[in-house]
Symmetry: C2
Subunit: 166 residues, 2 copies
DNA sequence: TTTTTTATGTCAGTCATATTGACATATTTT
DNA sequence: AAAATATGTCAATATGACTGACATAAAAAA
């Protein structure tokens, strides 16, 4: 009897875990991983969008901070950054305190582009928020926050800090 | 006065949207997109894991159903499937009703591998569930479900149906 | 001041996962 | 018999990541 109960309990937990894992996969895929006509139109990819997004959120961000936040390698970032610099969506300024640093800023053109390419994602997320109800937001945030690893948590804390200082 | 209130209201919403978008990115990345030593050890990638996972959930699944569920092209799937067939993690049986179909099943070896490679993800998700609290689960599921597009929803409904028939 | 560390950039080569379009085969449906 | 379907396969391509090595400039430490 105890064994059966235990097994059932275990199965219920397992189902919840599997449901969570699968929803993460499908939800993320449908939200972000689908080809974006706007990005395509500008000849940019999602990697470019991510850089634009975070530079937009933290103007004057150094390259190293971006690398840490995105957890990609210098080489991966550098190609993306090069494209964005060439196409004048982003500018670099040499750091005043530390002249080795290249501080990143969106140009007016970059801001415009970012707004454009982010737009349908915002719409998508807004629709989901309304559909799921405001009460679902906290659970959603709590779960996702709990999924972050320690390094990301630190970065995100610093990051939120900076966006609020502006 | 009204203008200011409106602007504030708009900003709050926007912040919530941006937070949701960013958490999706970071949460998904840290949950699933990090290099998995177990997968690497077997010379497999995440695409292989996904196939193993869904075939494990729906034994006897046809190739077309898998294509629809994963939303990838035949060519993408075929390479992954070829690897898994060669390495005997999966077997194909010709459909009895429709002899054109190749129905997919995990071998005992495949089941073992799947359990192994899924294990740390389950652990990760379980930890997050405990940390976020059971009450967060519903919001998490609601939001993710609301993010699915119509096609995925249909597939997931069919899918859940089939896993419960077993 | 010299040495070391840090912030950044860059080169060359590789990999995983996806794409498109065309075509082939077997089988079922009309 | 013709059309549609389920699957498989070819060649070529793209994106976004990786590693490892090396270079430069500037800051920090010795």
């Amino acid at each position: 009897m105890t064994d059966i109960k235990k097994t059932l309990q275990k199965d219920v937990n397992d189902d919840a875990l599997i449901k969570s894992m699968e929803l993460m996969y499908f939800g993320y895929r449908d939200f972000i991983a689908w080809p974006d006509e706007v990005l395509e139109h500008y000849g940019l990819g999602r990697a470019h969008h991510r850089v634009l997004h975070f530079v937009g959120r933290i103007p004057g961000m150094a390259v190293a901070a971006l690398l840490s936040l995105l957890k990609i390698t210098k080489q991966s970032l550098s190609r993306v950054l090069k494209d964005l610099l060439e196409k004048k969506y982003i500018t670099q300024k040499i750091g005043r305190r530390d002249r080795r640093q290249r501080l990143l800023y969106l140009t007016a053109k970059g801001v415009k582009l970012l707004d454009h390419i982010t737009d349908h994602q915002k719409t998508h997320m807004k629709k989901a928020c309304k559909e799921a109800g405001i009460s679902s937001m906290n659970g959603f945030w709590n779960m996702l926050t709990a999924l972050l690893d320690e390094h990301t948590k630190e970065d995100v804390i610093n990051y939120v800090d900076k966006t609020h200082k502006e």
